[in-house]
């Protein structure tokens, strides 16, 4: 006998399962009702003489109203239930452990904030909310962890995220769920959920060349970003200290929130959104830096919010 239900290993799993059981109950009830009626009528009212005709019944308004309104009410319940689960899925808690994900044909690359890098394996601690910030180097991919009941497309040119909180240590399937070419079914991996202490041991046991933000800082200097984006207000480009999460006033009066996507776009297509008071002089870095380097830069800009002394 094969398993009929997948493993439940996240806080979301039980919520999705509860909805699933309710939906099954609704489906079984109506399927059995309709099938039962059809079979019963087919037998009870089977044609007995070749000339037999049915009783002339036009319809009934009450019945029509009943079987319009009752399904509509049931649908409304399912809608609200499904929507509330989805809200929970799309609203991560404030404090999350952030991990960057880059998908490419046909592998998953994970970057931890402390600098650990993994391919097709993701180590996370149990009992802590984890947020994956994801992008793709080529075509559309999709991170899917059935045991967690979470899934989201990983798009080129954009950041998407999902979050989960694992409840049970173990190894769980990670699938690419958006068709991405020849070895799509080989773009699989494992999420390894560990007890916090084991996780700490794993983190410190991995070889690291410096945190993501520090790699980003080095890149920031190597690419000479620092010449214009200075910590004081004398630079030719906007100050980046304290930028992340703020609302930026743009030329033309519009505003934009400085999130990961905005920073990414500003590096790749600087002219798309010009900060008020600055000239569109920044060159594009499209094609010059990889998605992973972009993430390092983004993380560096984010880190400038918390650093006391600006980077030199």
């Amino acid at each position: 006998m094969p398993a009929l239900f997948p493993e439940s290993a996240s806080t979301m799993a039980s919520r999705v399962d509860a909805l699933y059981f309710f939906l099954i109950a609704v489906a079984v009830f109506f399927s059995v009702l309709i099938a039962g009626l059809i079979v019963y009528f087919a037998v009870r009212y089977r044609r007995r003489t070749p000339e037999g005709v049915g009783v002339n019944i036009h319809g009934g308004l009450l019945l029509e109203i009943a079987w319009t309104v009752i399904p509509a009410l049931i649908a409304a319940v399912i809608f609200v239930w499904g929507a509330s689960v989805f809200f929970a899925m799309s609203r991560p808690p404030d404090e999350t452990l952030n991990i960057y994900v880059v998908g490419k044909q046909w592998m998953w690359k994970f970057q931890h904030l402390d600098g650990q890098r993994e391919i097709n394996e993701l180590h996370v601690p149990v009992g802590r909310a984890v947020k994956l910030i994801m992008t793709s180097e080529d075509v559309i991919h999709d991170v899917f962890v059935p045991a967690f009941r979470v899934k989201a497309d990983v798009l080129p040119g954009r950041y998407t995220n999902i979050w989960f909180q694992a409840t049970k240590p173990g190894r769980y399937h990670l699938f690419c769920a958006e068709y991405c070419g020849t070895r799509h079914s080989g773009m699989i991996g494992e999420v390894i959920v560990m007890e916090p202490s084991e996780y700490e041991a794993w983190l410190s046991g991995s070889r690291v060349e410096g945190s993501l933000a520090s790699t980003g800082e080095k890149l920031f200097q190597d690419l000479a970003c620092i010449t214009c984006h200075r910590a004081d207000t004398q630079g030719r480009g906007p100050v980046l200290q304290g930028l992340f999460g703020k609302t930026v006033q743009l030329q033309g009066g519009e505003t934009v929130v400085a999130d990961e996507a905005y920073i990414r776009e500003s590096i790749l297509r600087p002219a798309a959104k010009i900060t008020a008071g600055y000239q569109p002089i920044m060159p594009t870095f499209q094609g010059l830096i990889s998605e992973e380097q972009l993430l390092e830069l983004v993380e560096y800009v984010k880190s400038l919010n918390t650093q006391q002394s600006p980077a030199k």
Partner: protein, 538 residues
């Protein structure tokens, strides 16, 4: 009982040469041209399904290479959707029956009708060209940027095949709309029309309004791929998800192009084999229109996990639940029609009952995946595959086969062997459920779709599914054989073998080229039983 004979003059013996078929403007002959073409594509698409199911018997990818597997499911999807399901009922039964049911001599534009068939065939040739030049591996959805920059296969010929066939669909829809508006016989008011016509009318609206959006989308993909123009390319600031919006704006309503005509067929069959008026005629008719309209507003439910905003997902979810209501209304009305009917267990009725049951399951699982929080887990898994096969195979195809059996005596003038037909209907029903029911479970377990190889714990359910598919395959071959056989050896049917109401049963079987000896005058509502004496004519 007097012996029945074929009428001396009918559309099948009005000319015999190949020219009399390839240059015909008779809607009935064009329907048969379509029937031949879509049957070819059905078995072609089916053969890919056989290979897919064979590959999935074992967890590792061992029968075909991953490249080949990807091409198999792509070609299965492209051919079944665009070259079988979408044209299936409208261009065969619809073509044959629309003029007969409204009491007209032909469709409004017979030459355009023939041109539609040639356009369809041309599109089909492009697709076959794509096939013989190595196939396509994008999936039938052609998602960018994979289809524009990544795939190295014959994307352009396949996209052009779909583009061209789209025009066949548009022109067929146009023809039906004009015919139903302008060519109805005296007395045939809108509410005296058989429900099949209502559903064909609703379908035609979708064809005319949706297909052009698919056409332009395919054109943009081609321009991006060939000319390196930018529309969806993230490197230029384009948005690959915009493609998905445009694609599903057509391709979701396309589902209703497939299933609405089947619903119409089922209404006809249930009325005829219960010898009873359809319960709540107007509700069923308006439900078709409601589905056609609402169907255009739900495309975003294909993008819950594609970076769509939370609120957009909510709105599309709510609308998706709304489109379920008219479908539910139809199911209840069909069931109620059977109450106190005089139910004959002939083959078409078996298919209709099968349709209602399977469509109910398909529709109810539609509620599952309309709920956003649930869909996140099962989208892009086998749950979706199972759901839409319940709608498209359990629903649309069952309806098509039911309709084909119901009107076969009218089309061919002959009867098929009834007990063999009942047997194969049973085989199809069983095979279908065995194939697709395990896939619901597989999907919830997390098996992603379009996977060439899969983890071993999914094997048992996959083997069950493949076993079902082999039964299903046999089930489809039997009708093919006995329907062909009956063309020559079947018993003569007579004008109205089922004792059914409807204008199409008042003319001879097969009908004459001009359909009716004189223009019929309609004086009563559809599905009026017992039949008046003159409707029994032989």
């Amino acid at each position: 009982m007097r012996t029945l004979v074929l009428p001396p003059h009918h559309y099948l013996n009005d000319g015999y040469g190949i020219k009399s078929w390839l240059l015909t403007r008779d809607h009935k002959r064009i329907a048969l041209l379509y029937l031949a073409a879509i049957t070819f594509f059905f078995f072609l698409g089916g053969s890919f399904a056989v290979l897919i199911r064979l590959e999935l018997v074992t967890p590792p990818g061992d029968l075909v290479s991953d490249e080949t597997y990807n091409k198999l499911f792509t070609m299965h999807g492209v051919i079944m959707v665009f070259f079988f399901l979408i044209p299936s009922i409208p261009s065969t039964l619809g073509n044959f029956l629309v003029p007969l049911m409204i009491g007209a001599k032909d469709l409004a534009f017979p030459k355009l009708n023939l041109a539609s068939w040639y356009i369809y065939v041309l599109g089909g040739l492009f697709t076959i060209y794509a096939l013989v030049t190595g196939g396509v591996d994008t999936g039938w959805t052609f998602y960018t940027p994979y289809s524009t920059v990544s795939s190295t296969t014959s994307v352009i010929p396949a996209a052009m095949g779909i583009f061209i066939t789209g025009f066949s669909s548009i022109l067929t829809g146009l023809n039906f709309i004009v015919t139903i508006h302008r060519m109805r016989a005296p007395g045939m008011t809108w509410f005296r029309m058989p429900l099949f016509l209502w559903s064909i009318y609703a379908t035609s609206l979708i064809m005319v309004l949706g297909t052009p959006v698919l056409a332009i989308t395919m054109l943009l993909v081609a321009a991006e791929r060939v000319l390196h123009f930018g529309f969806f390319d993230p490197a230029l600031g384009g948005d690959p998800v915009l493609f998905q919006h445009l694609f599903w704006f057509y391709s979701h309503p396309a589902v209703y192009i497939m299933v609405l005509p089947s619903m119409g067929v089922v209404s006809e069959i249930v009325a005829a084999f219960c010898r009873k008026q359809i319960f709540g005629y107007k509700f069923v008719a308006f439900a078709s229109m409601a589905i056609a309209v609402l169907g255009f507003l739900v495309w975003g439910h294909h993008l819950y996990v594609a970076g769509e905003s939370v609120y957009a997902a909510m709105i599309f979810s709510a609308l998706s639940f709304m489109v379920a209501i008219p479908s539910a209304v139809k199911v209840f009305n069909w069931t109620a029609t059977m109450y106190k009917g005089s139910i004959s267990w002939k083959t078409p009725m078996l298919y209709a009952m099968g349709f209602i049951g399977l469509f109910t399951i398909g529709g109810l699982t539609g509620l599952f995946i309309a709920a956003v929080g649930f869909d996140v887990h099962v989208t892009d898994t086998y749950f979706i595959i199972a759901h839409f096969h319940y709608i498209m195979v359990g629903g649309a195809l069952m309806g098509y086969l039911g309709g084909l059996h119901y009107w076969w005596p009218k089309i061919s003038g002959r009867l098929y062997p009834e007990s063999l037909a009942k047997l194969s209907a049973g085989i199809i029903f069983l095979g279908f459920n065995l194939t697709f029911f395990p896939q619901f479970i597989l999907g919830y377990l997390g098996m992603p779709r379009r996977y060439h190889a899969y983890p071993p714990e999914f094997q048992v359910l996959n083997v069950l599914s493949s076993a079902g598919a082999s039964i299903l395959g046999v089930g489809y071959l039997i009708p093919m054989a006995y329907l062909m056989w009956s063309l020559r050896y079947g018993k003569i049917a007579g004008a109205n073998p089922w004792g059914a109401s409807g204008l199409e049963w008042t003319t001879t079987s097969p009908p004459p080229t001009e359909n009716f000896a004189e223009t019929p005058i309609v004086t009563e509502e559809p599905y009026t039983y017992p039949l008046r004496a003159e409707a029994h004519l032989g």
